[in-house]
């Protein structure tokens, strides 16, 4: 393409032309943005199933969308679809049911759920010793009524609905998955494989077992009362994250392609960085090197220096470990200047949306750039003296934000950082 616009490293520039969001705060980005900048929490007592015997009884559930007996796969698909439709409508790209590019989806890790296992056991009508061989006997009969389970089903349905091109890619990098989906889209556009891509992170896996799994790793806050105060990233009394549901969709597009069709550019995805950690399955390397490397890789990929970053959208889970390590990481990358860079955690209000988090928080970072207003870190009543950061405590702030970084870190040593900016003039 002669005369095509390129970034500093000679690659196509990746613009965002559509954003869609669903969280516990509500459906749609305007509702979400109003509440997020209003310091509203979406964390509530769990009403979807009994919480007797559980240490954690709160979550950030998408109650506005949930209907009786929806499985995590169905609900994840539903919120992905709502977010995707909002993003595509805003981008005004393609035609109905014909999105001109591939789908990169970060769904939750799906499996057959307890509700289904119990239904199968009832169907098998075996009283004692109900085991897998008994479930096998009724599996086909069960599937005829309830449908079959497939790992790639959410991606398949979304690809069919949106009419995306090629084989839909579902991916998982634990709590960095949403950012990885965006990253795969950036790479595909830079390679010239496509002019546009649809990146979606969606996670609606609030079930007893998912709660118990994180509980057994002591990862969740147990300060259930009041629910809206539980998630307190960077506070001294933080005690774990709050499990949450959510989805975000971004329409990524080659900047030239977006401009040629007169699309409104919401922001630029300038760069990404990733670095795996080989230290431990759930904990970061104590020296923070992989986190630091992922941030530095993102800056290098964007072709910018630490001085060029005006705001950091933190991973900020509210676990003792994450927030300490993130502070260590940003301090190393940004040096003394970090004391003057606002860094806030959306999770203080929406909780940890797990595989969706990277996408949801990238969407909110783009809205921050667009509105020049930084959402706060709420519940910041007891600052941690070991984390002397400007966390934009409790109240949103107007600021000049030309460029922002969004961090995502996950179990299994996954670290992904994205660098975003306003449209170049």
């Amino acid at each position: 393409m002669a005369g095509a616009t390129r970034d500093k490293l000679g690659r196509p520039i990746v613009a965002v032309t559509g954003i869609g969001v669903v969280t516990s705060l509500g459906v749609g980005k305007s509702d979400n943005w109003a509440k997020l900048t209003g310091g509203v929490s979406g964390i509530r007592c769990i009403s979807r199933f009994p919480t007797d015997g559980l240490k954690t009884t709160i979550a950030g559930a998408v109650d506005e969308v949930y209907r009786d007996a929806m499985s995590p796969a169905e609900l994840s698909e539903r919120i992905a679809l709502i977010a995707g439709e909002e993003a595509i409508a805003e981008a005004g790209i393609g035609a109905k049911g014909r999105f001109p590019g591939p789908l990169f989806l970060a769904p939750p890790p799906l499996e057959i759920e307890w509700a289904d296992r119990i239904r199968m056991a009832e169907m098998a009508a075996a009283n004692a010793g109900t085991g897998y061989p008994e479930l096998m006997r009724v599996a086909r009969e069960f599937a005829a009524i309830h449908g079959t389970f497939k790992f790639g089903i959410v991606g398949e349905h979304l690809a069919e609905h949106f009419g995306t091109e090629g084989s839909p890619i579902s991916l998982n990098t634990a709590c960095a998955s949403g950012a990885s989906a965006i990253q795969l889209g950036i790479e595909a556009i830079r390679r010239g494989d496509c002019e546009a891509a649809l990146a979606i992170g969606a996670d609606a896996s609030l079930t007893p077992e998912s709660l118990v799994r994180f509980s057994l790793l002591s990862a969740l806050s147990t300060q259930n009362d009041p629910p809206e105060r539980a998630s307190k990233p960077f506070s001294k009394n933080r005690d774990g994250f709050v499990l949450a549901e959510g989805a975000a969709a971004l329409v990524l597009e080659n900047l030239d392609h977006a401009r040629a069709r007169g699309a409104h550019v919401l922001g630029i995805l300038e760069g990404y960085g990733e670095k795996s950690d080989s230290f431990h399955r759930t904990r970061s390397s104590p020296d923070g090197k992989p986190i630091i490397a992922s941030m530095r890789n993102a800056l290098a990929d964007a072709g910018v220096a630490p001085e060029d970053v005006d705001y950091i959208n933190a991973h900020g889970t509210s676990t003792p470990e994450n927030d300490k390590m993130e502070h260590l990481g940003v301090s190393a990358v940004f040096g003394e200047r970090i004391r003057g860079i606002p860094i806030s955690s959306n999770k203080s209000m929406i909780g940890h949306t797990l595989t969706a988090a990277g996408a949801v928080e990238a969407a909110f970072t783009l809205l921050t750039l667009q509105h020049q207003r930084i959402p706060p870190t709420i519940n910041h009543a007891v600052p941690d003296p070991a984390i002397p950061l400007d966390v934009v405590p409790n109240v949103a702030r107007d600021a000049t934000v030309r460029r922002a970084m969004s961090n995502s870190f996950g179990f299994g040593g996954q670290n992904v950082c994205l660098v975003m900016a306003r449209e170049p003039t």
Binding site: F49, D52, R140, F151, G166, P168, T173, E187, R213, Q414
Partner: protein
């Protein structure tokens, strides 16, 4: 497309029911020994259990082995073989730059704990409370980490030190094809120099079988080669781990690495699986690679799994293509996400030996060309996942 660079396979790691390593698998296929399978443990279902493996050889710390379930140990082991084969194992400067794409599903469950809960939950006074209580007491914290799909990649980082980047693709056979396609595209476009790509499946477990029994996809009764299972045919899952080291030609040559093959093309696509869709997709993919085919020296390694109508549809497409065909699935079983990588690994053995193994079953057609130098590897998934790769001998 920015297709600047050649992509080589510089390492293969394969563990299957045929044994430890690619050579063990090739020797078995070459001899035409009977396929090892188990029709008793999960009767009436047939599975291909893993051959005996000394995991200590690739996973020296018992504490690491204890943190993994079998699918992860198999995958980490195979990844170690691939890194060793490529001459990258134990070289921190290279491992630091090695990217990784794993295709997996995780989800491995504690069948005993599930069974105990199922037995009690339906008669419990408060089923919801019963479930919570038993989950809190019966689930092992480490099992969660063995269930997370990305923890195969995570364990490879920990055990082997692969820390460039790590991504895990989900979704059965299509995930395997797309993992190779994206890994190759990144290297060809200069977005990566070295990428470890692979997958693993632990097939001999009820929770894995349950997923596929729902759609009636499993082989039952008596064993037959994938081509000969008839209209009631099905897949015999096979435990396997398969990893490939992909590398840019420039990078491989600069460090004096051997090429097991070059990947000229990888295609993947989705269709709705209406009548004729599989054939049409494979035909389109074949047409895309056909200009590069040297027919006199080419053959097909098929991903056929014995499930209908997928296997018959693939047979129709392969008849049109007209090259000699072998389907290793008869021997190693079906490995879902890992199947495509396993067959790419076997394709490397075919290129190394310059010939196909003996045919088994009606769809293994044609005699081996002399001096075989190109292999087309196919994938037709159990419900989605049509794909094709073309691999060629280097030099």
């Amino acid at each position: 497309m920015t297709e600047r660079r050649e992509v080589w396979i510089t390492g293969v790691g394969l563990v299957t029911c045929l044994g430890d390593g690619l050579d063990a698998a090739w020797r078995h296929l070459e001899r035409g020994d009977p396929p090892p399978y188990d029709d008793k443990s999960f009767a009436p279902y047939i599975v291909h259990p893993l051959a005996p493996i000394e995991f200590d050889k690739q996973i020296p710390k018992k504490s690491d082995q204890r943190q993994m379930e079998l699918w992860q140990r198999v995958g980490v082991y195979a990844a170690g073989l691939a890194l060793g084969d490529a001459g990258i194992a134990g070289k921190p400067d290279l491992l630091d730059r090695t990217d990784m794409i794993v295709a997996a599903e995780g989800g491995e469950r504690d069948v005993a704990a599930d069974t105990a809960i199922l037995s009690g939950v339906r008669t419990a006074a408060k089923p919801g409370a019963f479930l919570n209580e038993r989950l809190m007491s019966d689930l092992r914290p480490t099992l969660f980490l063995a269930q997370l799909p990305n923890l195969l990649a995570g364990n490879i980082s920990i055990v082997h030190g692969v820390v460039g980047s790590s991504r895990t693709f989900l979704g059965e056979e299509a995930a395997g094809v797309d993992a190779v396609r994206v890994a190759r595209a990144r290297i060809a476009a200069g977005q990566s120099e070295l990428t470890l790509v692979g997958g693993a499946l632990h097939a001999t477990r009820w929770d894995a079988l349950l997923v596929f029994e729902e759609s009636g996809a499993l082989l039952q009764g008596s064993f037959a080669p994938v081509w000969d299972r008839g209209p009631q045919g099905g897949i015999a899952l096979g435990t396997m781990g398969a990893f490939l080291m992909l590398e840019s030609r420039e990078h491989a040559q600069a460090r004096g690495a051997r090429a097991r093959g070059r990947i000229l093309s990888v295609c993947s696509d989705r269709n709705r699986r209406q009548a004729g869709d599989i054939e049409a997709t494979l035909r389109r993919q074949w047409e895309a690679i056909a200009p590069q085919i040297d027919r006199a020296h080419a053959a097909v390694i098929s991903g056929a799994a014995g499930l209908e109508p997928a296997t018959s549809a693939e047979r129709v497409a392969l008849n049109d293509i007209g090259l000699p065909v072998r389907a290793p699935g008869t021997y190693i079983g079906h490995g879902l996400e890992a199947q495509f990588m396993s067959n790419l690994g076997i394709a490397c053995a075919v290129l190394e030996h310059g010939k196909l193994s003996a045919p088994t079953g009606a769809g293994d057609v044609g005699t081996s060309p002399s001096d075989l130098s190109q292999v087309v590897v196919t994938s037709v998934g159990n419900w989605r996942g049509e794909g094709l790769a073309l691999v060629e001998r280097v030099g």
